[in-house]
Subunit: 206 residues, 2 copies
DNA sequence: TAGATTGTTAATCGATTAACAATC
DNA sequence: TAGATTGTTAATCGATTAACAATC
């Protein structure tokens, strides 16, 4: 998510995209280690489990600071907290979900979602039969009110889960709603004029 | 998909993973060009549209053969057919879908799926209320019969769309069913002993 | 102290890009 | 022929890995 939302520099060194993408991998592994009650881990051990070289683990981490101790390695708890901080996992990210068909409902039911700090805080669907109804505790709103509601709630991330023929229109609406990131699950590519301001990730579930 | 299923070499030169992943991009763009009635395109033009350097386009393509003509560029139709061949898009890939909850149903409704040459040819769900029922024209089968049915039909690709606590068991069953590729949409990492034979892609919809 | 592991520098590897002879 | 674009080679760039002094 963070790779979608920014964080390209730190200590004015440029952080390689690929390092950023590995960060959530580290996070997942450390989570696992913590659950198993492991207190410390060396770069060699961490690398072995993740299929990376020890030196790469160390290199990746040093982009963000110095977290290890010679002879001891890294304190799992501390490193995990640091990574979560960097990844913005301490934050709650309110998300707007557009489309409440099968795919949209899958998101509402998806447990991994909340675990990543995302919280679907508003749902839109243009089916008059659905508007006003509640699904999984979320009220479904009229897309006509999209810009107003999204701005009010300060939502910066949206998920498009509508049929492909409706996706571009929804996208335009979201751009006008001033979101910063759009995850498009409709099977089509979306075009955005303000690419600098709004990051679109087209996700093909195939 | 093909990148999941193999194709690492050609003319005994090793093809970079990243080139393979760009192949479907080229395919999509050429499709688009063909629909617009464009007959020929140069590497420069293609690169510009896709955000790649002309030399990279040419380099990528030469891994697979020589398709262009000096002064003219590439014939869209011919190149498209060639790419489709390489990507295996002429083939129909029968797919087993395990789990017919919200996410599973999303797959059954997903139009982009068929366009990629995938065809969900069998669906499993362990809910007795669902077994034997038909959804979107697909009969839902008892997972107990998984290995038998999958082998009979010669299915090589499976999608896991079950809750996370059931995913590893399903995965083990699929491995015993001798599939070659598993796409896991459950929010957990799956482990496979025979990694060489079965490729698992863990897809986090978050 | 002796030894293990860190952070960091330098060497290596692989992918991207520029350059250009060959081609039509 | 003159000129544009290919396929391919060589130079460049950036990421991975090895090596090692610094550290505890």
């Amino acid at each position: 998510m963070l790779s979608l939302l920014g964080l390209q520099k730190m200590k004015n060194k440029k952080i390689p995209e690929i390092t950023i993408s590995r960060l959530s991998l580290y996070n997942r592994f450390l989570q696992d280690l913590q659950e198993k009650g492991v207190d410390f881990i060396t770069s060699a051990e961490l690398g072995k489990r993740m299929g990376l070289k020890a030196s790469q683990v160390r290199k990746d981490l040093t982009y963000f600071g110095r977290f290890g101790s010679p002879r001891i390695g890294y304190e799992v708890k501390q490193l995990l907290e640091t990574l979560k901080g960097i990844l913005g996992l301490h934050k709650k990210w309110p998300v707007a979900l557009v489309g409440c068909g099968n795919l949209g409902k899958a998101f509402l039911s998806y447990p991994g979602f909340k675990a990543h700090g995302f919280e679907i805080s508003v749902v839109f669907d243009n089916d008059p039969a659905k508007i006003g109804k509640v699904w999984k505790g979320k009220k479904i709103f009229d897309p006509a009110k999209m810009a107003k509601i999204i701005k009010e709630k300060g939502i910066k991330i949206a998920i498009i889960a509508v049929p492909f023929f409706a996706a571009q229109e929804v996208c335009d609406k979201l751009v006008r709603s001033e979101v910063k990131a759009i995850l498009n699950f409709a099977p089509c590519k979306l075009f955005v004029t303000k690419e600098e301001e709004v990051k679109v990730r087209n996700i093909d579930i195939a």
